[in-house]
Amino acid sequence: MNRLLLASALAVAIAVAPLATSPILGQAPKASAAPKTPWGDPDIQGWFSNLSENGTPLEKPAQFAGRNLEDIKGEELTSIKQAAQNRTIESFAGPLHAPEDWWQKDLNMVKGSQAWLVIDPPDGKVPALTPEATARTAAAAEARRANPRGPSDSWEDRSLYDRCITRGLPGSMLPAIYGNSYQILQTPDYVAIRYEMIHETRIIPLDGRPHVSSKVRTHMGDARGHWEGDTLVVETTNFRDESSYRNSNASTLRLVERFTRVGPKTVKWSVTVEDPKTWVRPWTFAMPLTMDDTQPVLEYACHEGNLGLRNILSAARSEEEAARANK
């Protein structure tokens, strides 16, 4: 079964929406709180789901100007989340919407834990682009104007997500409207994270080895991890241009994730985004990761069953054929 049409609609929803941190945001985890693995590392293993964090905007919405993230809670937060859930359902109304049983019964935005994601800078906004990034964006727009293409002239006009190639990083960690399950496993030497969506596996060495050569570039990047107290710190570089986060410079982008077990079912996760060629300063967003044994990762044979992409392309060709016939 293929859910890509839904996926691309969702990609839009995600761009509009993103995700979130929580009441736990301001708490310093107690060193003794984290359960330990048999070999003494903090234990962050388990099945997780980001389902409830779907729909949280990346940046601080204007309506919260002057307010702190941790102050938006309780009924106020619930009402915001309920409204987001209602909007999401409405956005799929109409004759072409995905079958409701694929997603609506699992929709759980009401339990979302924060009103926006960016925690640094303090204004909750992604920092300004550098002049270089502004020029890069303008050049790309100019190239598109000079050589206009339809949205589905080829598969290359579709997103890497539509094509079942990758959601990249931090995209793979972020919620979508379905397929939010992922799993963390640990050994003394590695931490592995498996994402159901598209099916991605990150295997993060903990032994302090250097990054691979800058000539080796992958969509999920080259990750290195280490423990700082109770926090797993994962630094990822060596990205590819096509999938570099928010059109950053793949060769200078560096993502630093921090995973800290802060509760029986909660791992606090933050990402510091650094790319001096794209943003004038590093910035950080955060979201709680919630363990959920009821949501084990199932195999998502995204590419193998990608009728969505095939249908998008064949429909575009059919429309062109019909337009020619009507001339």
Binding site: R163, L185, T187, I203, P205, D207, T218, M220, A316
Partner: protein, 271 residues
């Protein structure tokens, strides 16, 4: 099952040396690996790769040319000794006929060409490494090809929820061997590039047994009464990739198969 190796003495020595998780050290991987995990089982963690021609053909086979002359020697098939116990896969007559058709049309039918998940056991002996991450209650096997992976449940066995490409894996320890019982396969994967195939009745029982620290005996018993007259078995050593700092490099081959799969749906600029 029939294999016995002089494991005991090597393991005893290794346990004395290691046994405990050691703090990070640049030399650690090169010098000492814990022979056992904290829960006392053989530690299979590592990056492994087959070194044989099973990927081209599980059975004994002579060298043969590529179907695409443009690929010259690069696309030709190396000959090799098979890995099937007894030499031949016991196909039912109809299934053997289909296997031959598969082989004749392998460029259009082999799921590997389309970058589809390879299934089990094929993922194990493709010409790509795979990594075992042996966590306390789960064993992850992550394959470089197509970002495919599977997690072997080491707890109470679970039923396959649905048929999948990589199957549903329940594992247990049988002495020194990790035994993995795989069910819930679809009928879309092959065993090799020679068109050897199965139905959705496939049941694969694998055994992973360390022969020494850098060699892992891989055995797989294959049952599929719809396709074969009896169960049959393959076996081969897997070799630890011992290069310093070796790691998997994602091979997301979807991008390399799109022209093949969707090229006919590309907009024709002349129209």
């Amino acid at each position: 099952m029939k294999y016995r190796f002089p494991l005991a003495s090597a393991l005893v020595a290794a346990i004395v040396v290691s046994g405990i998780a050691i703090s990070a050290s640049a030399q650690r991987d090169a010098v000492v690996r814990p022979a056992r995990t904290a829960d006392g089982h053989p530690n299979l963690s590592g990056i492994w790769q087959a070194m044989n021609t099973a990927h081209w053909d599980l059975e004994d086979h002579s060298p043969s040319p590529s179907q695409l002359y443009q690929t010259g020697a690069v696309g030709a098939t190396p000959g090799g000794q098979g890995v099937v116990e007894g030499g031949e896969i016991p196909y039912k007559p109809d299934a053997l006929a289909r296997k031959k058709l598969n082989f004749a049309s392998r460029l259009s039918l082999d799921p590997e060409v389309k970058c589809y998940m390879p299934g089990i056991p094929r993922a194990t002996y493709m010409p790509f490494p795979f990594q075992i991450v042996q966590a306390p209650n789960m064993v992850l096997m992550a394959y470089e090809f197509a970002s495919s992976d599977r997690v072997i449940n080491m707890g109470k066995p679970v039923e396959a929820a649905v048929d999948t490409w990589m199957g549903t894996a329940n594992g247990r320890w049988d002495g020194e061997a990790l035994v993995v019982d795989n069910t819930g396969f679809n009928d879309k994967t092959w065993f090799d590039r020679a068109g050897n195939f199965h139905s959705d009745q496939l049941h694969v029982i694998e055994r992973f047994t360390l022969m020494d620290q850098d060699h892992l005996l891989y055995e797989a018993t294959i049952e599929d009464p719809q396709t074969f007259t009896r169960p049959w078995k393959i076996s081969m050593p897997l070799y630890r990739r011992v290069e310093k700092n070796v790691q998997l490099t994602d091979f997301k081959c979807v991008e390399y198969a799109e022209e093949l799969l969707y090229g006919h749906l590309r907009k024709d600029p002349s129209k």
